[in-house]
Amino acid sequence: MILGDLLGTPVHDSDGIRLGRVADARFTLDGDPQQLMAGARLLGLVVSPHSWSSFLGYERTGLTQPWPLASLLRWRHRGSFVVMWDDIAVIGEESVRLRDGFTAYSPALDEAGQQ
């Protein structure tokens, strides 16, 4: 499938309650070391309840400049969280459904934009 289709898809929990939209997909480079670079495995999805226009990622980095833009954008992404691949039950065009009792993790990355 194409990542662009997944981004912006509504996310529901197992009871069908809407949690937000897919704002981003998080990958980890821990795959096949035979290639030039390790394979990229889907680790989980970043879900944002208010806006999925998350390209600036202020909610994930420690950036606070330029004030007040950074704070404003961070506020727009308040409440966003990460769900791991293991907690995803269904991926479809209309909806991503999570498993019962999924864990919401903090979307934070470390200061260099990495975790």
Binding site: M1, I2, L3, G4, D5, L6, L7, A23, D24, A25, R26, F27, T28, L29, D30, G31, Q35, L36, M37, A38, G39, A40, R41, L42, L43, G44, V46, S54, F55, G57, R60, R78, G79, F81, V82, M84, W85, D86, I88, A89, V90, I91, G92, E93, E94, R99, T103, A104, Y105, S106, P107, A108, L109, G113, Q114, Q115
Partner: protein, 135 residues
Amino acid sequence: MKTYRPLAPVPPIAGRILDAQLHLLDRQVLDNDGVPVTTVDDVELSAPEEETVIAPGTPAPIITALLTGPVLGTRIFGGRPPSSRLVRIPWKDVADVGVVVRLGVSGENLESGWVERWIRDKIIARIPGGRHDPR
């Protein structure tokens, strides 16, 4: 205003982390000589197109290819080109992802470079001085 409880951090992972929007999509792609080839217009995953119920324990999808070409238009205006029309750069050709994506192969043989090659061979190289080195 609703307050949000602090969330636990993601469990530590061995490999490097890439958030697609932040670190991969729309980045410039350079070939092994540092010549720009294209941008990362989209990314293809090893997951089926249609609605899929995922059995517990299913291995996570991986990135199979970077996509370019017509997929940019559909990403902006909506829709999706048929799978046969996708222009792919296989993930195995990617050497590094930083503020640019570096390939480990020459751009000369990539499918994504045909427009550039066509314009070069049919127009620019035919104008006198088209191959002149400005330095």
